[in-house]
Amino acid sequence: MGTVQARGLRKAFGDVQALDGVDLDVPDGSFFVVLGPSGAGKTTTLRAIAGLEQLDEGSVHLDGRDATADTPAARDLAMVFQSYALYPRRTAYENIASPLRARKASADEISTAVAEVSSLLHIERLLQRRPAQMSGGEQQRVALARALVRRPRAFLMDEPLTNLDLKLRVEMRTELTRIHRSLGGTFVYVTNDQVEALSMADQVAVLREGRVQQVGTPTDVYERPANQWVAGFVGSPRISLLACRAEGDRLVGEQGWSLPRPRWTTAEDGRPLLLGLRAEDVSVETRGTAALPGEVYGLEPLGDRTVVDVKVGSEMLKVKARPTVAGVPGERVEVAVDLDRAHIFDADTGLALSTAGR
């Protein structure tokens, strides 16, 4: 079992700076998720940890030891690839046995370990099949088994669920959490799916354009986003951002509205700010002391809830409501705001303003 540390990883592909100083600290035994949009450098980070990518700068430490110069084999890691990368000419059994064969395990050890991991993943009946004879979900399980058959320092997973259909993906999420709990071990898990990150992670690192934006628990990242970009990337529907300024004990919107200034906001008067409101922290169904005037722009029924788009001046605000909510476009509404849960960002730097005390 082990820890993984990345220090100042830098890597350029031609003109594209894929990694621009990435630092990560993955604690022993944690489920660590690297979250970011496509092109953020997530996969490159993972490949750099695995030793598959030559770094321009920076170092990778495994169990506290500098492993930057080590070959992938010497790093003692296991990886699940997004494409699964199952060896096409070999049966599932041989695929799963491959890491053990490479490390010269005895035939007995191999058959015991393969039997164990296949029962863990319920793939016993697939063992004699070749990848082409399996469905995507089955291939995914075999790829997972190939990683889990050993006890490496850490398991690296590169968007392993991306190529599955939605139902299977939800199933595998629970399954992976169960596996992590029962096996222990350090998991470094890369995804662009915030639901995966929030539901599975002990810790999340949010990556954008080759830089780490924030590291923290899923609650940290969701409740206390470090900046405007993280707030916008994590959470669905997207957080609404309204331009405003602090004036005395009021928060005055560019669109003419005014709200009581949250106690914890440290911004000096007149500085351009963004008020971030998540859809569940505003309501068109209740009344509150703080409210924004707006008009209904559209309704988006999602079954268990309805998202109401409210136009506040020329800005759009997403409001979560019960599925039974009524409203016609053009109707004037008061949007109650839970100011204790509001986020304030500096409009110039995008940084969250003193959310630490909350």
């Binding site: 695995a50 598959l52 992938p72 990886m79 990368a85 060896y87 890491p99 490479a102 190939r146």
Partner: protein
């Protein structure tokens, strides 16, 4: 003046067109077949003539007008290809053996050098990779005859004139660029992730290539090697310039050498030409699937 889309683009073929085509179908088919037969006969006539000549008695070979069907059948010419007049092995059979050795060795050499190079060019980021590949290809731009004199002079200095090793080296030199280019296409088709996965399994990079990628390249290697083999087997220019002795001479110059002098034994020429052409045909037939795949690339299933 603006042209509307309708004017600029021809209207789609209307529904009655296929019917019209079907009505004229039979006549069209007949013309097609007829033309193809004419072309085939014209193209294959030298081959047919060669086959016929090789099994005709000598007096029928020279008969005027030529005897197409009612000639006397004999296999003596084929015997003469392999057996000398007074018994024992003929000179020609020695040349065929030389051809086998030279073509085989140069193909093996080109494959052994070219396949790993193709893998490297496909997998690694190298400085000026495109320029390097273009340089490699550029060695094939000119016909061999252009460089035959410099090569001759170099070989004379090196003592490679009139040696099988010399021919093997020059054929390999011509086949390596070809092998690299053709094999690079095949390697590109095999996802690099198999090797990545193998390295994480605990294999070294070379083991990952040998155990996981190489087996997937076998069809490509077979197709490439056959092309290289056919080139070396057929090569004439270097063979005739760089070799002189009977012990070294390969089949193409040896067969050409039969023509000339006061009398030409056309039966023997034809028979040896048939024997010379057979291996190429057999090889091409054996790997015909891969040949098509090799020409079109994309032969390796993901």
């Amino acid at each position: 003046m603006a042209i509307s889309i309708d004017e600029a683009v021809p209207a789609p073929v209307t529904d009655d067109a296929p019917t019209a085509r079907r009505r004229g179908g039979t006549a069209r088919r007949v013309i097609e077949v007829l033309l193809l037969v004419i072309i085939a006969v014209a193209m294959l006539f030298p081959v047919l003539w060669m086959l016929e000549t090789s099994i005709k008695e000598n007096r029928d070979v020279y008969a005027v007008p030529a005897k197409f069907f009612n000639f006397d059948f004999t296999l003596d010419h084929y015997k003469d290809v392999f057996v000398a007049q007074g018994g024992g092995r003929s000179d020609l059979s020695g040349s065929f053996l030389n051809s086998v050795i030279v073509a085989g060795a140069s193909t093996v050499l080109a494959t052994v050098l070219g396949v790993p190079a193709a893998w490297a060019y496909s997998r690694f980021t190298l400085k000026a990779k495109k320029d390097q590949l273009f340089f490699i290809l550029s060695t094939r731009f000119m016909p061999p005859v252009v460089v035959v004199i410099p090569i001759f002079l170099m070989y004379r200095e090196l003592g490679l004139i009139d040696s099988k090793l010399g021919l093997v080296l020059i054929y390999a030199a011509f086949n390596v660029p070809f092998t690299i280019w053709m094999m690079k296409g095949f390697v590109d088709e095999v996802p690099a992730e198999y090797e990545d996965a193998a390295m994480l399994d605990g294999y070294t990079r070379l083991q990952a290539f040998r155990k996981f990628t190489l087996p997937l390249l076998v069809p490509g290697i077979a197709a490439t090697a056959v092309f290289a083999l056919i080139f070396s087997w057929n090569e004439f220019v270097f063979a005739i310039f760089l070799t002189s002795s009977q012990e070294v001479r390969t089949a193409p110059p040896a067969i050409a050498g039969l023509i000339g002098g006061t009398t030409v034994d056309w039966g023997l020429v034809a028979a040896s030409a048939v024997v010379f052409a057979l291996p190429v045909l057999v090889f091409a037939y054996l790997v015909r699937k891969h040949l098509v795949a090799g020409v079109t690339l994309g032969a390796v299933r993901r």
